[in-house]
Amino acid sequence: MGTAGFLGVLSFHDGWDVGKVLKYGLLALRHRGETHWVSVLTNSGLAAKKLDEVGDIDVNGWAGIACSTTDDSLFGVVKCGDVDVAYCYEGQGISEGEVCDIVLNGRAIEKSLTLLALTSNGRLVGYRSVDGRRTLALGAYGFDLAYISNETAAINAVGGAVRTFIRPGSVIDISRYVVRETRVVNHVENPRLCPLELIYLSRADSEVNGYSVYAFRKALARRLATRLRGKTARDVDIVIGVPDTGIIYALKVGEALGKPVELALMNIERRRSALIDEATMRQATVHLKITPVVKELRGKRVLLIDDSLLSGLTIKEVSQVLRHRAGVKEVHVGIASPRITKSCPYGVTMPPTEMLLTRVFHIDEELIKVLEVDSITWVSIDDLVNAARETGIMEELCLECFLR
């Protein structure tokens, strides 16, 4: 189980090298994982390979899928009877038999996931589980290509336009002969959208079920600013965000508080620290994305904004860098999510529950000592729900990871 970004393409006319298309789609999916994999369909069958670099897809065919994942278990090729099925998914772990069940028999399984598959007999299949935690979009390029992705920015990156969002509990089945969206579950379940998709997993230029991720983050940032207004906000000189996702929140918080926002933490390399398991790798990743602009920071009282706090490693590293290398006077922290107190049971990659900082340290007074920061402020669950409403999101939110 885990987090993954995927993009599938099928051409209705000859002459397309989908490898050349997919490689640009992968560039827009890298934030969902460090392992890159591609499978394409040629007239002689499915070819699949793991990629060292995003840019070097050198296999070609008339249909294909590509994904960036946190985990090698999230993709593969399985034989389902006479048909080979290449697949990639995000969410709760499933067996190869379950992949066959979804793709060949159109059968829903009792797990939370989105799945993309390509069959050796020329079908591009997408599946969105009935809980609706994750999104799945269908796109097109002219009369030539169909796209499926769980990240609309990836469809846009390859020239496509998003046509619709696949309904929860449905399969979208695309071949050269027909495109069909079929509901594969009979029971109705209120979809519970994953708020982490909105808070930090998706790209800000993506839409989740048609709702702007950017607009949601703005609405949430304003609520964080409200929480910070008063004591914390009075006591800070500048606002900075943790790259990359924290930047939007910092901008909007600063705007709301009337405090200058400085781009005082620079990226050397873009990587997603939240999705990396191993501690030293994570530390290295954190260090690569937070080189400080020292002259802007020295002696200042800083409000540091990030999208979320899991193990707290990132915030702790950043606060150390800010204090020890840049010489800031105070570090106040604002987090654009409620306290995450439980590891996601639905397959969002995060440390196990016992490694979540808020789980070990229940009250903020203890927690700020661990992080060595001056204060910490969170948005509440109500803030989150209200920001969703303000963005027009009709679905309920899944709040599982915020509950004890």
Binding site: S11, F12, H13, D14, F143, G159, R176, V178, E181
Partner: protein, 491 residues
């Protein structure tokens, strides 16, 4: 004089729709039909009105045969290929008043380069930059640096359609190179079968926007503009998949579309009207029949994509559903050159949704789609209040068999899209196949799709109104750094 012996040429859903409307006439005409296969719908109208079916080719020879057999007072020609093959020329030569244009006027549809040149020469608005090619190699060379292009066969060539390639993302050029070339080769091959045209391919600047069709009935002097109809050229749901003959069409409420402004509609009507005038001036003769403009609301405003020298299929079904007039009287007036005196109106507050049902395999693998069994619960469809038009289908030994293209079209009327949509879907579910898969587009006419179109049109409208306000309505300036700017004059 009352012309009550009518010969309809054609065997598709379009001709079935025309026959239905003609049979509605208070003059109770006798309807005869020239067909290549027995269209069950047309055949039943012929039988009801006491007419005759003539099975022959839909060209000059077939028309001559049919005229000799049934001695009609008037001939109505449905399909473009019949026009290209001189069916109207023959009927006129034999002295029968004819609705549907002769070859030299049908060139407006047959020859896409001619149509574009005509628009440029006569400065008719709504035109696009284009180039025609007689050699596929030259075209392949040209598109390498031509940016975003639409590549089409230069002649109406059966199902072979357009493909559009946007190059607004420079990094995708490499991926598109082969696809573009393959379309040039395909299009060239599809046209090279015909000996009646010189050019093989035309390449136009690519545009994007919301499409609609404006069908105009004319006697060569004045016009009756039918309501704007939206066709759906993508074969599959959600506007995905290859271009095809059209999987369904919508109009309403009333004689308008929810995403098209009145000004935009009338601007489009004017374009068609000016084209009729220019065409008559250019090739001579009187245009008696239908000229349909397939339009797109683009960043230039209403822009002509393609002309049809006849009713659109399935657009004809929606237009005739809203038309409150005696079609026979109207056609008679057209052939007699007194169309301006005809009284007509359009139904208000009515939405009409038509959906085509096709066998899987359509449009590109007709071998798969042909000779499949279809079951149609006609009485249930009638009970639900839908109209049923038979297309590429025939009855053999009491069972319907597919002929490879869109098998039937089902139309429902309602007060709202919601209404008409739920009715038409219920009716479509009465069409099935025991031995094959059929498909239709679920999304056509759905309130969701209509809202999406409104939003798309609004985006485009913002761009073209801005361009017009800033003096760019008729000018496009291209500048490549280091070179002289090129000004395209669309005035």
């Amino acid at each position: 004089m009352l012309k009550d012996e009518v010969l309809i040429v054609g065997d598709g859903a379009r001709e079935h729709a025309i026959a239905v409307k003609l049979a509605d006439s208070v003059h109770e005409p006798r309807i005869h039909a020239l067909m290549t296969h027995r269209n069950p719908g047309i055949e039943s109208i012929v039988r009801q009105t006491g007419g005759r079916v003539i099975i022959s080719s839909l060209d000059a020879k077939g028309v001559a045969k049919a005229i000799n057999e049934v001695n009609p007072d008037i001939v109505v020609i449905g399909p473009e290929e019949s026009q290209f093959a001189g069916a109207a020329d023959k009927a006129i030569e034999m002295g029968v008043p004819t609705f549907g244009v002769p070859r030299r006027l049908a060139v407006i549809e047959q020859n896409k380069a001619f149509a574009r040149e005509l628009m440029w020469k006569h400065k008719i608005p709504g035109r696009l930059a284009f180039r025609a090619f007689k050699d596929a190699g030259d075209a392949v060379e040209y598109i390498k640096n031509a940016g975003s292009v639409a590549i089409k066969p230069a002649r109406q060539a059966g199902g072979k359609g357009v493909r559009v390639f946007w190059e607004n993302l420079a990094y995708l050029r490499d991926a598109m190179g082969m696809a573009k070339a393959s379309q040039v080769i395909d299009a060239a091959r599809s046209v090279s079968k015909y000996s009646d045209i010189e050019d093989l391919i035309i390449i136009e600047e690519a545009v994007t926007g919301v499409e609609y069709t404006v069908q105009v009935i004319t006697d060569g002097y004045s016009i009756i503009a039918l309501p704007p109809i939206q066709d759906h050229p993508h074969a599959f749901d959600y506007d995905v998949g290859p271009e095809c003959g059209g999987m369904g069409s919508i109009v309403g409420p009333g004689p308008r579309l929810p995403f098209l402004l009145d000004d935009e509609y009338w601007e489009s009507v004017d374009i068609v009207k000016r084209t009729i005038e220019a065409l008559q001036r250019e090739v001579g003769g009187r245009y008696v029949g239908v000229l349909s403009g397939q339009f797109m609301l683009t960043t230039y405003g209403p822009t002509l994509i393609e002309y049809y020298s006849r009713f659109g299929d399935p657009e004809v079904t929606n237009a005739l559903a809203l038309l409150e007039a005696d079609l026979l009287e109207l056609i008679e007036a057209a052939v007699e050159g007194r169309l301006s005196s005809v009284k007509y109106s359009f139904r208000d507050n009515t939405v009409a949704i038509t959906k085509a049902v096709a066998p899987v395999g359509y449009p590109h693998n007709r071998d798969m789609a042909i000779n499949r069994t279809i079951t149609i619960n006609e009485s249930a469809i009638a009970k639900l209040g839908c109209s049923l038009f038979y297309g590429s289908i025939e009855r053999i030994n009491g069972a319907y068999r597919t002929l490879g293209s869109r098998a039937v079209e089902v139309m429902a009327l309602g007060n709202t899209y919601q209404d008409a949509y739920s009715t038409v879907e219920r009716c479509v579910s009465q069409v099935s196949s025991p031995d094959w898969q059929l498909f239709h587009r679920l999304d056509i006419g759905s309130p969701e799709l209509v809202s999406r179109r409104i939003a798309e049109a609004e985006t485009i409208r913002q761009v073209y109104t801005w361009r017009r306000l800033h003096g760019l309505g008729k000018v496009r300036v291209d500048w490549v750094p280091g070179r002289e700017p090129i000004v395209y004059d669309y005035s």
